[in-house]
Amino acid sequence: MSFLVVNDLEKRFGAVEVLKGIDISVPRGGFLVLVGPSGCGKSTLLNTIAGLETVTAGEILIDGVRVNELHPSKRDIAMVFQSYALYPNMNVAKNMSFGMEMRGVPKAERQQVVARVAAMLQIEDLLHRKPSQLSGGQRQRVAMGRALVRDPKIFLFDEPLSNLDAKLRVEMRTEIQKLHQRLGTTVVYVTHDQIEAMTLATVIAVLKDGVLQQVGSPAEIYNTPANIFVADFMGSPSMNLVPARLDRANGALVVSLKRADGSTTMLPLHEPSAAAEAFIGREVILGLRPESIDDAPVADADGAQRHPLEAHVEVTQPTGADTLAMIRLGGREVVARLRAETGARAGERRRFMVDMSKAVLFDPETEERL
């Protein structure tokens, strides 16, 4: 049973169409992450769910109730803003209790709830400070606290971590994850950081120019991206996209890559989709994640799906945990994720193994996955 349903939602600002027929549903307790490049309409979608923007067409249901016409305060949601939006004239305690005061919660109860949430977020010492006297991380906590005093049906987060430095961002990400596990409240979370999206989400929705590109679990989005945009957007470094030809050889489907020296390399496809058959003899785009290419010796277990090829190493970039190598493949520069202790050196020709089990193919014209 879906808890939050967005049904064919459209939003227009004057003549500008910002959201074009969005359909998403999230089960109770789910964690929906909206990702997409800047200006694609993530905040707008979140604001329509919050009721801060009206919708042009379509409907939004929360817990089975249509909320299109409900005022934001009546939708039983709590929101954390990118800028935190702490009331500058009120101290932390007042910031957290303002909403309860507006809803007529008695003072004693307000204090109790604030004390409980402050303890949970470890901000008890800050209760009497003004927002201007807090660090970025502390402000972020207070903003979370203000949402947490509510026990709402849905938490809405609009890029809550984007103003923090990298280390704090990772810390807070884990905390948000723990909070979600503890409270089990449904969350809608906007980010343009695809690592945040992958780590936090139970459902990811990828948006581009107001059009929903794909909705699915992080694994689905990562392994079977619906189109080239999603493939390119999710994952870091992003998926390698190499022009190739689909052929039939020895009864199996193979992808032929043109090499610089005029030869071709053939990589067999595992479990090709029915749609792929129609592309035999035609150009396709082969999508390969960087971790599908490595230079480790063949391991027996999955050796059947790994295929050797030789390639020129252009540069190597050690990241500590592993080493990224730019190699020439199909006339393109392609990223391979190698072990940290790899012997690969820039300028050499080297033998790589390509794992074709997770390869995907795209139609070069429609950019859709085959």
Binding site: S73, A85, Y87, N89, F98, M102
Partner: protein, 293 residues
């Protein structure tokens, strides 16, 4: 109180500094001279003014001109002094300033945080009101006041000044609130605060500097206004400026300069006070938004 050391962008040499101070001193003297002349002569006997040097300190200090200007001098036909007119001005200025400031704040709030179709046009028209010369509105305004039945009353003057000041107060608050984060308003909406509650619980408490600017601006303008006061008041609602004019121009016989000077200073005291009390906030308010923090 944090006494921040004054930061200067340029390190200045001793000579430049001396020149700067000299120039400042010259300007200060230039501007203070009229006040000085008025001040010293208001404490002199009339004979001493006539016989002596305008710049000289009084030989014999007397408060008589001040007392006379305050409550004995002939204004029009009555020997009431300026006191009742001073009160008239207060009764006109205080409500006019409060109302125009509040309305300006509300306008600014709506024009920035509750935008509607055509809001920029509305704002442009209100801005336009700032540039309408006083003289043009005299006759229509007289008609309106007559129609409302408040011609010649203090409330009539209040209305005139509120209407005339609204363009400025709206401009001040709109520009101030334009920089006020809209997300705060959204957060308050989610918290369940109503339109007015958001205004007075979230925006107003953060509006100190711009309120000071607006109040000073409105207070001095309305207090110093002569044209509207002369055009729309009766004897019992005449503001200070009009009474001062009557005192100076209509007194028969000898010109009592010492009384005139005392009266003029009396008329200027409230605006001076407002500047002294709130002046530092004035500058701060004008600068607000220019630099964060």
């Amino acid at each position: 109180m944090a006494a921040n050391p004054i930061e200067t962008a340029v390190r200045t040499g001793r000579l430049t500094r001396a020149l700067i101070y000299a120039a400042l001193l010259v300007f200060a003297v230039y501007y203070l001279l009229p006040l000085f002349v008025m001040m010293v002569n208001s404490f002199k006997e009339l004979d001493e003014i006539r016989g002596g040097n305008m710049l000289a300190l009084p030989e014999l200090v007397t408060l008589a001109p001040w007392i006379k200007a305050w409550n004995q001098a002939q204004i029009g036909v009555q020997p009431t002094g300026l006191a009742p007119y001073f009160l008239n001005s207060i009764k006109m200025v205080v409500p006019a300033v409060v109302i125009s400031t509040l309305l300006g704040a509300l306008n600014g709030y709506v024009l920035t945080k509750w935008r509607f179709r055509g809001d920029t046009l509305v704002f442009a028209l209100m801005l336009f009101a700032c540039f309408i010369p006083f003289q043009i509105v005299l006759i229509p305004m007289a008609r309106v006041l007559g129609f409302l039945g408040i011609a010649g009353t203090t409330w009539g003057l209040v209305l005139v000044h509120v209407v005339y000041g609204l363009g400025f107060t709206t401009l001040f608050f709109r520009n101030y609130y334009a920089a006020f984060p809209t997300e705060l308003v959204k957060a308050a909406q989610i918290d369940g605060a109503s339109f007015l509650r958001i205004f007075y619980r979230i925006l107003l408490p953060s509006s100190g500097p711009i309120i000071v600017v607006t109040v000073i601006w409105q207070f001095t303008n309305i207090w110093n206004d002569f044209l509207f006061g002369a055009s729309f008041s009766d004897f019992d609602s005449q503001p200070m400026t009009v009474a001062l004019n009557n005192l100076v121009s209509s007194s028969t016989g000898v010109k009592e300069y010492n009384v005139h000077f005392a009266g003029a200073i009396l008329a200027a005291i409230p605006t001076l006070l407002v500047y002294i009390v709130a002046g530092r906030y004035f500058v701060r308010g004008l600068m607000a938004g220019a630099v964060k923090g």
